[in-house]
């Protein structure tokens, strides 16, 4: 009797186990266990997708709130105009076509002094390349606006050596060069003085370099023309 009972129980239990096994094997044909490498790849992929989703969500939110502003206000037109004006101002700020001010550093570059009766040697002169490299240093350090002798430096400036003066964007500038940059004062100053930059090399050389922090630097707008005749927008 007891043996019989146990047989029944074992029978039922094994049916249940068999069921479970069959259920589990059913979809395990395409092994759903990953090895370590696959797991890592999948994990990275997932993270990437997550961050992408977050970015898209942010983007969506921004665009949506903008759209809401356009759509849901009583004075639609004014709102839209104000928004557009804000964007234009912002773009001008970035482009360098508006006057800006803020904290930053001032750099004064001057040719070295010659001994009496001697011409200035190459090392004692400031060259166009020096100016460009200093500007590059500033950009590297995160300067948001730069001017050289009052001339705003934007993305398509060029510098040329034109004998006694330097031709910056078609405007002749002569030493001493007053370069001012708006940005994080400390970062700019430390970058220029501590790091291995061209500005520092100049400072150690035979020309005169003076760098100082300033709280309120005014940089005027770029006055040149922006001509584009070959550029076209690519249709997305």
């Amino acid at each position: 009797m007891k043996n019989n009972e146990s047989t029944i129980f074992v029978f039922i239990a094994s049916i249940i186990v068999g069921l479970l096994i069959a259920m589990n094997i059913g979809f395990e044909g395409k092994s759903n266990f990953l090895d370590v490498k696959q797991y890592h790849e999948a994990y990275n992929e997932r993270n990437k997708l997550y961050s992408e989703i977050n970015n898209l969500k942010n983007q969506y939110y921004n665009t949506y709130s903008k759209l809401q502003k356009y759509d849901n206000s009583d004075e639609k037109k004014y709102e839209v105009l104000a928004e557009i004006q804000k964007e234009i101002n912002y773009n001008n700020l970035i482009m360098g076509t508006s006057d800006v001010e803020g904290p930053g550093v001032k750099i004064i570059l001057e040719d070295g002094e010659s001994n009496f009766g001697e011409d200035l040697s190459r090392e004692q002169l400031i060259h166009d390349v020096d100016i460009i490299k200093v500007i590059n240093d500033l950009k590297n350090a995160g300067a948001e606006a730069i001017s050289v002798n009052g001339e705003r430096v934007i993305y398509d400036n060029y510098g040329l050596c034109a004998g006694s003066n330097i031709d910056l964007n078609g405007i002749k500038i002569v030493p001493p060069f007053y370069i001012s940059a708006i940005g994080n004062q400390d970062v700019l100053y430390n970058y220029l003085t501590l790091k291995d930059t061209h500005t520092k090399a100049l400072k150690l050389g035979e020309v005169k370099v003076r760098i100082s922090k300033a709280d309120n630097i005014k940089i005027l707008a770029y006055t040149g023309k922006l001509n584009y005749s070959y550029l076209k927008l690519v249709n997305k």
């Binding site: 009972e5 074992v10 094994s14 049916i15 068999g18 096994i21 059913g26 979809f27």
Partner: protein
């Protein structure tokens, strides 16, 4: 013998019904299968050595499975593969039980002959 027949019937039933468990639950089911298998081996051994007790078997059958699943869940939440403990313990016990069953069966056949 009964166990194999039951297992076969169960597998066939499972394939015929074709029930899919979500992939999420797959590890839980795997451990639960192990726990149940362990109970079945225990029951087999009990029935052969004539000290089978239905209440112990049933409580072990479901209790072990539930505990194993709970451990897998906990391990998943804590980030430690606790299910390894269940797998090792159940695996070891299955082998133990199998060894005893073997011995008993072989002794039986020898005493019969």
């Amino acid at each position: 013998m009964v166990a194999f027949v039951g297992l076969l019937i169960g597998i066939i039933l499972g394939i015929v019904w074709n029930v899919d468990i979500p992939v999420k639950f797959s590890p839980y089911i795997s451990v639960a299968i192990f726990a149940c298998l362990d109970s079945v081996f225990g029951a087999l051994r009990g029935s052969i050595s004539h000290n089978f007790r239905a209440d112990i078997f049933i409580s072990g059958f479901f209790g072990n499975a539930a505990l194993a699943v709970a451990m897998v869940y906990l391990g998943d939440k804590l980030g430690i593969p606790i299910y390894l403990a269940a797998v090792i313990v159940f695996g070891g016990r299955i082998f133990d039980n199998f060894a005893i069953i073997r011995r008993l069966l072989i002794d039986k056949t020898k005493s019969h002959s």
